[in-house]
């Protein structure tokens, strides 16, 4: 009998990875952006399956919505004929492929290196379908209150639970600074070209 959780995981994982690879192999920058959107949107599905509903919605909103609109904007502003695709030499491809492949192998080895990671706690896996109901808890944690600390079974971890108020504030300020900075950076100075008179008309004598 098919485990639907697994089925959907495989579906989303395949979409994610396939489009990620498509981003790499695609030469056209606009298509890259489209593939990236697809890949990231599929990651959202993975998050839902991992019972991270709030994070998933956030990913959809900020990442897929916000970031990528920005990206697409940038792509379009700069996507002119010669720049749409810029080729690199096969030697570069080889170098990059070797390094990336080595990294991939390393990561894959690490991923399967722990036995406990390979066995799912079957009894609880259905919880993923219900959605994690994490909104309130995340909200409280960002305000410095860890209501989930009480549920933490491990006393060692329970002791070290603290809220995320300070990081939250820092991130907020950081975002503000970044946005101001980005706006400033993007406003480049350049000399205004004098507007030439329209060539088609001349004052009738």
């Amino acid at each position: 009998m098919i485990n639907w959780h697994t089925f959907f995981f495989m579906l989303f994982a395949t979409i994610t990875c396939a489009f990620a690879v498509a981003v790499v192999v695609s030469a056209n920058v606009v298509r890259m952006a489209v593939c990236l959107i697809a890949s990231l949107a599929a990651v959202t599905g993975l998050y839902f399956l991992a019972a991270a509903d709030f994070v998933a919605a956030m990913q959809l909103m900020i990442y897929v919505g916000g970031t990528l609109v920005l990206l697409v904007f940038g792509v379009m502003l700069t996507a002119r004929g010669p720049f749409v695709s810029m080729k690199i030499t096969p030697a570069n491809w080889l170098m990059a492929g070797l390094a990336g492949g080595a990294l991939l192998i390393l990561l894959l080895c690490a991923a399967v290196s722990v036995d406990a990671w390979k066995t799912a706690a079957v009894a609880e896996s259905a919880a993923g379908r219900e959605g994690g109901h994490t909104v309130a808890r995340i909200g409280m944690a960002l305000l410095g209150l860890r209501v989930d600390a009480l549920e933490q079974p491990n006393p060692a971890l329970r002791g070290g639970m603290a809220g995320y108020l300070l990081p939250f504030e820092i991130i907020s300020v950081h975002l503000l600074v970044v946005l101001v900075g980005a706006a400033h950076l993007a406003r480049a100075r350049r000399t205004k070209k004098p507007i030439e008179p329209p060539s088609g008309t001349s004052r009738a004598a």
């Binding site: 690199i88 990059a96 390094a99 990336g100 080595a102 990294l103 390393l106 690490a110 290196s113």
Partner: protein
């Protein structure tokens, strides 16, 4: 919504609206339209909205506590909006204490402020553009030209309204003190509005410093109350754990003693600290000691412990009020404060701020012992007489009004002192209406004539009919005109009530009977100088032709507030029949518990009895006083008519006959000169001595140490050059060489970097797994 939630909420918004307007004008004032003229609309709108909210709050209050001929005291609402901090039992909070008096003050302050805001839109319009100030010399020798400060004016007005309303609504002494000082700073800012004028800045400083003297006393009072009672709050409020914590009033006049004046335990403990310490030392445990002390306290109280502290606290608080309300001997600042723009004079120095002192005395009434009240009465009496006499000789129209204000404030204090709680506060309200009116009228005159001197005016009645008419209403009101025993202008009712109480006091405490006669004489003088002012300004022939020619009636935006205020000056004292709507009835609702029946005989001064106020309402007594007061006013009026109206008598001749008296009055009883000699000169002398010591001793020591430092620095320099630098330079050289060697690695190729990072990461992980035996593969 229930009353206890609705009324504080309404007042909260009414209170905070001017603050919002202030903040908005601070940040955006000059950008609000041309010259910032929209700031005026903002400020006026804010205070107008506050008026509406205050009226709504009053309406809600009256809905629950309808007025009756014999109004009973209604329980005040007290509580906290926001707690700033808690130190054990002591709580520092933004609180409120709302009774009919608070609501009346709110309505009065917002009403008059609204009128004055509207008036100021017209009066201050010159500040919209560039202002040429002929009184100040600019850097080029000509008259000073400066940018207008229209928004700034309204910004200050808003801040002032916020402070004054905060003072009225305050629920604890700490808050009272804060807003007390805020009111003071507003006064400072507004007196010094024409900051370039030396006289204005001096007057501002004077007002501020003189007030500090009073505030010193006030701090003493507050300290005593805090130390003895352990709380700031006026009323009872819920403390931690849902327990009701008694406020100041219920500690001084506990319900268990039928609201009689009782020296609180805390003050007794404070006074008898030595004996209690001995008890602690002798007892085995703290609990036992507490028990013993609790047993001893009634005895100690009977022995008089703490009573002096209570008196001292009362005097301290009153001291603050003396400063703020310009009572003798701290009255000197108020006439100088007339340097500010006239609306300010009307708003702050006549109608509201100086009334704050009276208001505070009224608010603290339950705390005062009879001895304190006597001091208050005497002070008030002296003030009212002194100021009235000075007003006779003044020629500056605003100064006359300023001294009149001081005198009327003296009346209020006097009334409170002789037990006329409701009468004094009643006069506070009526006086606010007609004094604001008078000041605004004088502003209108000044606006037209560009001079303050009455000797240069005259005959303006024809040119300014509205101003003259409304001012006449104001003069009649302040003189207490009316049909005796029947009805009169607002001043008639309130002044009658004061004199009746004074008369009642004189009967009960004959030793202090002279106070009544002084007050009655004051009434006559009041009528005299007010009508002197009116006749000199509006009647007769013009004295200076070109001023008369240029005079004109003020614009409608200034006239409308005058008319509104005139209506109030006429009718504020009336009590509507049947529904019993009137100020005295409203005030009766706010009467502090336990003061209705007067005070028992004072403990330290024999024969001092403060009679209950309702004795003065007896028809027999009231009739006599009413006629006497009217006669006094009539006499004053007739003298004024004789001198200035019909010119039957010559003022010039009178001045020659009473030359020494005139000399004394023109110099204002030499108070300024006295203070200069006693306080200012010695202070300056001390400052000069201190400066000498500074220069001779302290500077010398400082210079010597500097020279020593230079020497040490030379040595250090040598060490630096020959040892430290050589080491650092060597290091730098090696770094340079290393950098040269590594330079080619930095190719500027982003992709190359990425590959390098990836390769390095892989390498590090592999190395780690080899050397630390982490198995990457299962």
């Amino acid at each position: 919504m229930e009353l206890a939630r609705l009324v504080p909420l309404l007042l909260l918004f009414a209170w905070l609206l001017p603050l919002g307007s202030f903040a908005a004008i601070v940040f955006a004032g000059p950008r609000m339209g041309r010259g910032g003229h929209k700031a005026a609309y903002l400020a006026t709108g804010a205070i107008g909205a506050a008026l509406v909210l205050s009226l709504a709050a009053l309406g809600a209050w009256l809905w629950h506590h309808p007025l009756a001929a014999d109004s009973q005291a209604a329980a005040p609402l007290s509580g906290d909006w926001y707690t700033l901090a808690e130190f054990g039992k002591l709580r520092l909070a933004i609180g409120y204490y709302i009774d009919a008096l608070t609501l009346g003050m709110f309505v009065m302050v917002t009403l008059i402020s609204t009128c004055i805001h509207v008036y100021s839109i017209g009066y201050m319009h010159e500040e919209l553009g560039e202002v040429t100030d002929p009184l100040v010399r600019g850097s080029d020798g000509g008259p000073l030209v400066r940018p207008g400060r229209f928004p700034r004016f309204f910004q200050y007005l808003s801040l002032f309204c916020f402070s004054m309303l905060g003072l009225c609504v305050a629920g604890n002494i700490a808050m009272v003190f804060v807003f007390w000082e805020l009111v003071g700073i507003c006064s400072y800012l507004l007196i010094g509005f024409y900051i370039e004028r030396r006289s204005a800045s001096t007057a501002a400083n004077k007002a501020f410093i003189v007030n500090r003297v009073g505030d010193f006393g006030m701090i003493v009072g507050i300290m005593i109350l805090l130390g003895g009672l352990g709380t700031f709050a006026f009323g009872d409020h819920l403390g931690a754990g849902g327990k009701v914590e008694p406020g100041i009033f219920s500690q001084v006049r506990p319900a268990s003693a039928e609201h009689g004046l009782v020296v609180p335990d805390g003050l007794v403990r404070m006074a008898a600290a030595d004996r209690l310490a001995a008890v602690y030392a002798s007892m085995p445990s703290a609990d036992a000691a507490e028990e013993e002390i609790a047993r001893q306290i009634p005895q100690l109280r009977r022995a008089g412990y703490g009573y002096w502290l209570l008196i001292l606290a009362g005097l301290g608080i009153f001291c603050g009020c003396v400063g703020k309300s310009a009572q003798f001997p701290l009255h000197v600042w108020l006439p100088d404060a007339m340097e500010g723009p006239t609306p300010v004079s009307a708003l702050i120095h006549a109608a509201t701020m100086v009334a704050a002192g009276v208001y505070l005395v009224g608010r603290f009434y339950p705390v005062f012992a009879p001895e304190v009240l006597l001091v208050i009465a005497v002070t008030g009496c002296i003030t009212l007489f002194l100021a009235a006499t000075i007003a006779i000789a003044a020629t500056d129209i605003k100064r006359v009004l300023a001294y009149s204000t001081v005198s009327q404030l003296g009346y209020m204090m006097f009334s409170l002192g002789v037990g006329g709680w409701a009468a004094g506060l009643f006069h506070l309200f009526t006086h606010a209406c007609f004094k604001a009116l008078l000041f605004l009228c004088s502003g209108s005159v000044i606006h037209a004539c560009h001079t303050n001197e009455m000797t240069e005016m005259g005959g303006l009645r024809k040119k300014m009919p509205w101003t003259a008419g409304t001012m006449l209403a104001g003069c009649l009101a302040i003189s207490g005109a009316g049909i005796p025993l029947l009805i009169g202008l607002s001043g008639y009712h309130s002044k009658d009530a004061i004199l009746a109480q004074a008369f009642s006091f004189a009967r009960h405490a004959p030793a202090h009977g002279w106070l009544f006669y002084v007050a009655a004489a004051g009434a006559a003088i009041t009528a005299f100088y007010m009508f002197r002012l009116w006749f000199m300004t509006f009647a007769g022939k013009p004295r200076v032709e070109h001023i008369y020619d240029h005079a004109h009636e003020s614009p409608a935006v200034m006239i409308v507030p005058l008319v509104i205020l005139a209506a109030f000056a006429i009718g504020a004292g009336w009590t509507l029949p049947v529904v019993n709507w009137g100020l005295p009835e409203l005030l009766e609702q706010a009467r502090p518990l336990g003061t209705a029946e007067g005070f028992p005989e004072a403990r330290t001064i024999a024969g001092l009895v403060i009679p209950a106020e309702h004795y003065s309402h007896e028809p027999a007594l009231h009739r006599i006083v009413s006629l006497a007061a009217f006669a006094a006013a009539l006499v004053g009026f007739l003298i004024a008519v004789a001198f200035y109206g019909l010119r039957l008598l010559s003022a010039e001749a009178a001045r020659r006959w009473f030359a020494p008296v005139h000399w004394l009055l023109v110099h204002k009883w030499f108070f300024d000169e006295l203070y200069d000699a006693v306080f200012v000169k010695p202070a300056l002398f001390l400052a000069r001595q201190a400066a000498e010591i500074d220069r001779g001793v302290i500077d010398w020591a400082a210079d010597g140490s500097a020279r020593l430092c230079v020497l040490i620095a030379r040595i250090d320099d040598w060490l630096d050059r020959w040892i430290v630098d050589r080491f650092v330079n060597g290091l730098a050289r090696w770094t340079w060489r290393l950098g040269l060697a590594l330079r080619p690695l930095q190719s500027g190729q982003l992709r190359q970097y990425v590959v390098m990072i990836a390769v390095s990461t892989v390498t590090i992980f592999i190395l780690v797994s080899i050397y630390r035996n982490y198995a990457l593969l299962p």
